[in-house]
């Protein structure tokens, strides 16, 4: 088991390396000469060519791609330095550190609320034999997921901030500021999550051994929690953890609507400004999150399905 976990961690680091290469190469495919954009920043007139060349040398844009990448990676590994934002001239680490808590809080709270909404509904829809109830829950989930999150957000602001004046529309200074953004996001996401939980539960519920368990006279709560839910948790957890990764990577739409300075907005602003160092830094962070989540999912599999260890030992699963 220990060896498998170590292998997973090393694989995760490899994924991170691949992500760093992809991020580095991808951002440089965007149109626009970054040296020209940086030189012209804050100027009305065109920057003189000698200034553009100086900036090109300063930021290393005159070197080959491999050399640029090597220098960048070296600084990260040995100095923990992600470089400086070309947009704000501040350290990329500072930019990310100032935006990250906002997105993390929003993501984690939204995840929790989404689970609270979708787990009972998904479980109920999965186990019930009442077709009407199942269909009603599915329709509700489908409606939630179909309504665009920005529309939900604007409606909630209009009702609770403008009309009723019980909640604030912008900012994140207090707990009250979190209610509307979390509500908008979790209502939207619970639609999908409910469906995922429902499908997994339903699939297991219809297996012959579940019917057999009922026929044997086992208590229904035991059938649901031990024989149905536990095996269904594997695919459910995978889906939920991936959603968690998406959430803590920042939600640009919610952050823009509610005027939060989160990492989603930071990424989009950096893309618009061709701020390569910040884009790379954020993509590394996002990649790291998903690499970690992959490791967590694999560890969860080991815990929930002990046969995985044996299968891995025989090389039958990754």
């Amino acid at each position: 088991m220990q060896q498998i976990i170590i292998r997973k961690i090393l694989l995760g680091l490899f994924y991170l390396f691949v992500i760093s290469v992809v991020a580095f190469v991808m951002v440089r495919q965007m149109p626009g000469d970054p040296a020209v954009l940086i030189a012209n920043q804050g100027r009305e007139s065109e920057a003189p060519p000698e200034m553009v060349e100086r900036i090109r040398r300063e930021y290393g844009f005159d070197r080959g791609l491999v050399e640029q990448y090597r220098r960048w990676l070296q600084r990260i590994i040995f100095e923990g330095d992600l470089g400086y934002s070309t947009r704000t001239k501040r350290p990329v680490l500072t930019e990310i550190q100032s935006s990250l808590p906002v997105s993390l809080h929003l993501g984690l709270i939204t995840f929790g609320i989404t689970l609270l909404i979708s787990f009972p509904l998904g479980l109920l829809a999965g186990v019930t034999r009442n077709k009407i109830l199942d269909i009603c829950i599915q329709i509700l989930a489908w409606i939630n997921y179909s309504v665009p999150v920005f529309l939900l957000a604007v409606l909630l602001i209009w009702i609770f901030a403008v009309d009723l004046r019980v909640l604030p529309a912008i900012g994140h200074e207090t707990g009250r500021h979190y209610v509307l953004p979390v509500a908008a996001l979790s209502m939207h996401l619970s639609g999908w999550t409910t469906q995922v939980i429902r499908s997994s539960i339903r699939e297991i519920s219809e297996k012959p051994y579940i019917q057999f368990a009922h026929a044997k006279g086992l208590k229904w709560i035991r059938v649901i929690l031990i024989h149905t839910l536990k095996p269904a948790l594997l695919p459910i957890s995978t889906a939920l953890l991936i959603q968690l990764g998406n959430l803590v990577s920042g939600s640009f739409i919610i952050e823009t609507i509610f005027a939060w300075n989160g990492i989603g907005r930071l990424l989009v602003d950096s893309i618009m400004a061709r701020d390569f160092p910040t884009i790379q830094g954020i993509l590394l962070y996002t990649g790291g999150i998903f690499a970690l989540i992959n490791i967590l999912i694999d560890c969860l599999y080991l815990f929930l399905d002990p046969t995985t260890v044996e299968k891995l030992g025989r090389g039958q699963t990754s």
Binding site: T88, K89, W158, G171, T174, A259, W260
Partner: protein, 539 residues
């Protein structure tokens, strides 16, 4: 599965959910949101000055803080010479234009020129100090002007600057420059203390100006906090603290005002014209409109077919119904582009040089060039600009109008970096952008658009060049006699309207709004708000 226990379980989970929500609902430890009082019915009149101060027998109490919502971040830090936008009045300039766009003394008390206008001597007001306690001296002024010249916008005819004494300096020019005071208004002569530049490595440098407000705090991408400068050399502001709240989404920006979380929205492009009806119908809000110096131009790639053909460009200009565009896309809050330069520059506008609307003539001209053929052109829009102004809708109207001429327009909206790249690489036929003639002097306009080396002319591959225009511009810029100068610029405008390398679509009318408890907040023609006079009645 029907079982009462299961139903109880669901109810319990719902109860848990509600409990969880209540944990999130905390009372703030201090007021962060200004509650908007229930106001009386107020008639909202656009284009009128804000209502006069309320009179009362007892002295009204004023709120300490005003929150202004805006749609762009006005703090620049190290990325721009000025560090912060002039609207915030942390820094001030040597000169500032009045309502007739004539440069007026501000930090500079007076100025005079030699006979041939090649040497201008400026005298500073005495006793002005920056927020860090240092004095505004001639040396500091010269350092600032040189910094702006090198890092922001160059003075085209600058030779050198020399300090004469503690409060006097002279600018020497390579040729006669009668419009030098106009070229030094506002951003072009912003004064910041030397210690502002000593903040290398500081994440959020503090701009130390001389203005009525001190820079206190910047929360990245969220807000700028200003406090009253108690040692201000002029009339001190009424309000103690102003917070500029950056709210990128236009709908949320208005909703925040309606909910009372902000007190005003006052900046160019911060209110979409379509929101005007909502504001007018809200009894707690007042709506105002002001003509500003911004004009929205359509420009051509004059270097390649089909718009290397002057007749076809004229046809396009004639086909555009500017009045329709103003009525349909900005709800009447705009002035159709009937003058090449902003209509506010009354002393320079040539009323004869006016783009006309004549669809019949337009078709005839297009026919004479294209015959029965049709051409495909690309209209490239900057997405950031299209988010602030209705360029998408304007492009669609133009697309519709040009179809009758045999010109099939493909509209592409691209993000800023791509837009700059495409225009620099000649990958467009038509585009649009706003331009603010902030100095009020037409040479400003020529520097950007009409000179071959003009900022926009070269940057956007407009590629306009005309020897006669160049000669006229050179004559006008150094002409001492104002009447003759006006004649030159009048002729230049007439030629440019004729040749149509670019054409005005409409002149901007900026909307701004505030709670009915806020008074004396106005925007001027360069959309600088009157922060020194604004006040808000307390609850």
């Amino acid at each position: 599965m029907k079982h009462p226990f299961f139903q109880i379980l669901i109810l319990a989970l719902i109860g848990l959910l509600l409990t969880g929500c209540s944990i999130l609902v905390e009372e703030p430890t201090q007021a962060v949101v200004a509650e908007s009082p229930v106001g009386e019915e107020t008639a909202v009149e656009p284009t009128e000055a804000p209502a006069a101060e309320p009179t009362a027998d007892s002295e009204p109490s004023y709120a300490e803080e005003i929150v202004i919502g805006i749609g762009r971040d006005l703090y620049y830090g190290h990325t721009q010479w000025h560090m912060i936008h002039g609207s915030l009045q942390v820094w001030e300039s040597l000169l500032y234009p009045d309502e007739n766009l004539n440069p007026q003394p501000y930090l500079a008390e007076s100025w005079e020129a030699n006979e041939d206008l090649t040497a201008w001597t400026f005298k500073l007001r005495e006793g002005i100090t920056f927020h860090d306690g240092t004095s505004l001296t001639a040396e500091v002024a010269v350092d600032n002007l040189m910094g702006i010249h090198e890092n922001y916008t160059p003075l085209p005819t600058l030779d050198r600057m020399e300090v004469v004494d503690e409060s006097t300096f002279t600018i020497y020019l390579t040729e006669s420059t009668p419009a030098l005071p106009d070229l030094l208004v506002y951003f072009q002569s912003a004064m910041l203390s030397p210690s502002t530049r000593d903040q290398e490595g500081v994440d959020q440098p503090v701009p130390y100006g001389t203005g009525p407000f001190l820079f206190v705090e910047y929360v990245d991408g969220e807000r700028i906090v200003l406090e009253r400068n108690e040692n201000y050399w002029g009339e001190p502001p009424k309000v103690k603290r102003i917070i500029y709240r950056y709210i990128p989404d236009a709908i949320t920006r208005l909703q925040a005002l309606q909910s009372g979380e902000t007190d005003a929205i006052a900046d160019v492009g911060s209110i979409i014209p379509s929101q005007s009806e909502i504001i007018k119908n809200d009894e707690n809000l007042k709506l105002f409109a002001v003509d500003v110096l911004t004009t929205h131009y359509l420009f051509f790639n004059n270097d390649k077919p089909p718009f290397d053909n002057q007749t076809l460009r004229q046809a396009v200009s004639l086909a555009i119904d500017r009045e329709l565009i103003v009525n349909e896309t900005v709800y009447g809050y705009g002035v159709p582009g009937t003058s090449l330069i902003t209509q506010l520059a009354e002393k320079w506008v040539n009323p004869e040089a006016s783009p006309a609307y004549d669809s019949t003539e337009a078709k005839a001209l297009a026919q004479s060039v294209l015959g029965d053929e049709r051409v495909q052109v690309t209209f490239v829009l900057h997405s950031g600009l299209a988010n602030r102004w209705p360029y998408g809708e304007i492009a669609q109207i133009i697309q519709f109008e040009l179809a009758d001429l045999g010109i099939d327009v493909e509209i592409q909206t691209v993000e800023g970096g791509t837009w700059n790249e495409m225009l620099a690489n000649d990958e467009y036929d038509i585009s649009m952008r706003p331009y603010t003639m902030s100095s009020g002097d037409p040479d400003d306009f020529m520097t950007y658009w009409a000179r071959p080396e003009g900022i926009f002319n070269s940057k956007y591959s407009i590629s306009y060049k005309d020897d006669q225009i160049e000669a006229l511009i050179d004559q006008a810029v150094s002409e001492v006699d104002q009447a003759t100068r006006k004649a030159y610029y009048g002729e230049i405008q007439a030629i440019l309207i004729e040749q149509t390398p670019f054409t005005p679509i409409y002149h901007e009318v900026t909307l701004y709004t505030m709670q009915d408890t806020v008074y004396d907040l106005t925007l001027d023609a360069i959309f600088r708000p009157s922060l020194n006079t604004v006040y808000k009645l307390a609850e």
